[in-house]
């Protein structure tokens, strides 16, 4: 079902791509789509806005991401809409399939679903052309659709809002003639495992500040590789929650599509340790 709706969404974006034709920012400057649905790396939101629209254009993306750690698999799909390279609206749905854990614990349900609605404003700067980095602030409203399991393991709320500020700068020809992208993000969040395990706990429901960072090098005009690190809160008593990292390679054959292959290291998730595996993502831009 999720796969089907994701593909339909991408098809819709591919069709609208030709209608809008907002293709004027440079290749790869729309970034990828991170797993919560906004322009970024694989797991970290960046200050860039999705798509290739400039100040006098509108644009956006559709994306589909699949992560498999062996014990778990995650599908995420969604879309964004960017107005005049100033504000980006995004919507995404995540489905975490609990395979191993659901069987072992006889949990009420084998899936955790969450919807994320985001808005991101570019405050100042242009990641490529200005002296100062591009800076953006964003909100992510997250709504857990299967709160029975998160509640069972100690989560307090089924929804929550993440607030973040991100700074992104592309250093032209900085590493042996290759462009280098650096991004730093600071997030305030109540989410447990991104929100898939709800928000806060009975005795700890305040915001926590967590830093996130990405670095990438553009090998040529269509291939980038890099890594990311995302610090996570660790509040639920039933299981530890680890920081996340990934190493990715992204390929942008043209401005309409982007492919990402990554290895994600997600640590302990809901008592199961050493969760790492392949991260695949497809993005269509218009």
């Amino acid at each position: 079902m999720k796969r089907a709706s994701g593909f339909v969404l991408l098809l819709a974006f591919a069709v609208t791509a030709n209608l809008f034709g907002a293709d004027s920012r440079l290749l790869a400057t729309g970034g990828l789509t991170q797993v919560e649905g906004t322009a970024g790396g694989g797991i970290v939101p960046w200050a860039v806005l999705s798509g290739y629209a400039t100040e006098d254009q509108v644009g956006g993306t559709g994306f589909l991401t699949y992560v498999n750690t062996g014990d778990y698999s995650l599908w995420a799909a969604g879309g964004t809409f960017t107005l005049h390279n100033r504000v980006e609206f995004s919507a995404a749905e995540q489905r975490l399939h609990l395979g191993t854990l659901a069987e072992a614990l006889k949990l009420p349900g084998a899936e955790l679903r969450q919807q994320v609605f985001g808005v991101k404003f570019r405050i100042l700067g242009d990641a490529v052309y200005t002296r100062e980095p591009q800076i953006a602030v964003g909100l992510q409203y997250k709504r857990n659709l299967d709160f029975a399991i998160p509640k069972l393991v100690g989560a307090k709320d089924k929804d929550g809002v993440d607030v973040y500020v991100a700074a992104t700068k592309v250093f032209l020809a900085a590493a042996g003639g290759h462009h280098v992208l650096l991004n730093g993000t600071l997030r305030a969040t109540k989410a447990n495992q991104m929100g898939l395990l709800g928000f806060g706990t009975a005795n700890d429901s305040g915001y926590k500040l967590v830093p996130e960072a990405s670095a990438a090098i553009l090998l040529n005009n269509s291939v980038a590789m890099g890594g990311e690190y995302r610090v996570k809160p660790d509040r639920l008593a039933f299981s530890r929650e680890d920081n996340w990292s990934d190493f990715f390679i992204a390929y942008f054959p043209n401005k309409n599509v982007g492919f990402v292959m990554a290895v994600a290291q997600l640590g302990t998730i809901a008592t199961l340790p050493h969760q790492s595996g392949l991260f695949l993502s497809f993005q269509g831009s218009f």
């Binding site: 400039t54 100040e55 052309y129 020809a173 042996g176």
Partner: protein, 137 residues
């Protein structure tokens, strides 16, 4: 640990030496810059996003000046005899979209002339700071 830092230092030192030759020399001097500029002009003349902007331009003069400028900024020792970027683009009202189109046309031109990506990027890096004086004038 110390060995690691020494290796890192050596790598930086070696790459610094490699960059002692000017971009002008490494790219192939005036003949190659001229070929790039000719490809560039051919491309944006066909590019509907920017071609109208240059409808009234004196192309031979533009060609001469841009070759001078590329030679100048890459360290080829030429004197750029044109007006500054801000004055040159006065009244053109170039948008971000048009600026990005010109960058793409230049990238395509360099690719056509088989300029290695590292040198393409270095030239783009030298031109990028001019953007503020080129758009919205």
């Amino acid at each position: 640990m110390r060995t690691k830092w020494m290796i890192l230092f050596l790598v930086i030192a070696v790459s610094a030496c490699a960059h002692q030759r000017s971009l002008y020399d490494r790219i192939g001097g005036t003949p190659v810059l001229t070929a790039i500029v000719d490809s560039f002009i051919a491309r944006f003349a066909d590019d509907t996003r920017v071609a109208p902007t240059f409808a009234k331009s004196d192309i031979p003069k533009f060609r001469k000046l841009i070759i001078e400028q590329f030679c100048n900024i890459t360290g080829g020792g030429c004197t750029y005899t044109g007006r500054d970027m801000k004055t040159t683009h006065q009244g053109l009202h170039l948008t971000e979209t048009q600026f990005n189109a010109l960058v793409e046309d230049l990238q395509d031109a360099m690719a056509t002339q088989r300029i290695p990506i590292e040198l393409q990027n270095e030239l783009i890096a030298k031109l990028a700071p001019m953007r503020a004086d080129i758009i919205h004038q």
